[in-house]
Amino acid sequence: MHSRSLRFISTLVALAVATALLTAGASARQRTHGRSRATITVFAAASLTDVFPAIDGTQKYSFGGSNALATQITNGAPADVFASANTTIPAQLYAKGLVEKPVNFTRNTLVIVVPTANPAGIHTVYDLAKPGVKIDVANSAVPVGSYTLQILKNMNLTTKVTPNFVSQETDVREVLAKVALAQADAGFVYSTDAQTVPGQVTVIKMPAWAQPKISYAMAIVTKSPNQADAQAFINKVLSKSGQATMLKYGFLPLVKPAEKPPAKITHPVKKKKKK
């Protein structure tokens, strides 16, 4: 009886060990089309927090301000792919040989969010110039912070609005959280982030004429030991289904769909002289 119990326990232990080993193996490596695929580490802009796992839920993600992630890569952090909310940071890393050539993969727009109660009565961007309005932004080193300053400059509102900045965050999700918690009267975020907290904030669109061009770029980290798998991830994001998922989460298509070529504009009254 005693020996049978021991056998039973040892069998259970063996099964548990085998299961643990199998699980660990499966999480570290996936078998795709007969080839063993590593789980890669993707450093991605905070605004991609929801959409990237929806495109590929099997990878390891680290989300944050693009500038902070770039600093980590520069310092040797073990990332395989870097996805930034702008094109300049990946271009800078590429120039330093830290990443392969970046590719653009989506676009976005900037909006204002205000708490649902809207205590400061903000209805347009021009209301942000009112005295006493508490505005939360990302710091200028973060892409969304840089775009915020750009759009204010485009509208000639810099000197009127920036005195109302009360806090500068390290990424866009922190701005969103503070506004959702009504710790600020307004904040600048991407339209895609605003959609992630329905009912907690009210979105105020920024004028299309003042919008900076917000393009996202991604690249394989040069030192990545998983180059092929990193490329496969990028391909997945750029694929038809990957792009469809980006659209589903509110991102803009990589390139605006081409319309029919316009007819040549000619003066409709003046006619050409006959030869």
């Binding site: 347009t124 021009y126 400059k153 485009n154 509208m155 000639n156 810099t158 669109k205 004028p207 299309a208 004429w209 003042a210 919008q211 061009k213 605006k256 319309e259 316009p262 007819a263 040549k264 504009i265 000619t266 003066h267 409709p268 009254v269 003046k270």
Partner: protein, 201 residues
């Protein structure tokens, strides 16, 4: 078309998104005058940026209206002329903007939307044209009274006059007196921007 425009040069540059686009310098920029090479203050650039969007809106609207074919010959000709004018306005503004080291928006950058039924009938198209031309005229008058750079006044005033002509024609097509107001109201940039926002997605 004014004598200072070289239409052949304008059109030889081709068209994009319904609007002729000049990428670099051009003799067309006579209208732009000395403003082209000027370093413009942020406030003036903001006006130009917004006015460029109004021209893109105008070109988009008239392009759609022409396709809808709501009119007889007189109205159709008015739509085509208006489209042509908006293209030339755009080109002139874009030349100034480019000369100031900026990149003007193109039709690819902004998607426009219109109230439901805007292109369904002659009356709907004409009403929308009047609404838009009222906005455009007000925006130009507001800019003319708001810019700091003196050399911008001439191009802005001339384009405002062109927009007023459009407004007259479409008012008449709507059965109203062509000219009504002695002193049309300028629109401040925030009001013009808000009005413009109604047409952007």
């Amino acid at each position: 078309m004014t004598s200072q425009f070289s239409r052949a040069e304008l059109l030889s540059r081709g068209a994009k998104g319904g609007v002729a686009v000049i990428a670099g310098g051009s003799a067309l920029a006579i209208l732009a005058g000395s403003a082209r090479a000027a370093t413009l203050p942020d406030g003036d650039l903001a006006y130009l940026r917004m006015l460029i969007a109004t021209e893109l809106l105008g070109a988009d609207f008239y392009g759609n209206a022409i396709k809808a074919k709501p009119y007889g010959s007189r109205g159709s000709r008015a739509l085509k002329l208006a489209l042509f004018n908006e293209g030339e306005h755009y080109t002139a503004l874009a030349a100034i903007f480019t000369g100031a080291g900026q990149t003007p928006a193109t039709a690819d950058d902004i998607d426009f939307t219109y109230p439901s039924g805007s292109f369904d009938s002659t009356g709907a198209v004409t009403k929308q044209a009047v609404a838009l031309e009222t906005l455009f005229l007000g925006a130009y008058l507001g800019a003319a009274s708001g810019v700091q750079t003196a050399s911008l006044l001439e191009p802005l005033s001339r384009i405002a006059a062109s927009q007023a002509q459009h407004l007259t024609v479409f008012n008449e097509l709507l059965g109203r007196p062509g000219f009504q107001i002695s002193l049309p109201e300028p629109l401040a940039i925030d009001a013009a921007s808000d009005a413009l926002a109604a047409y952007t997605g």
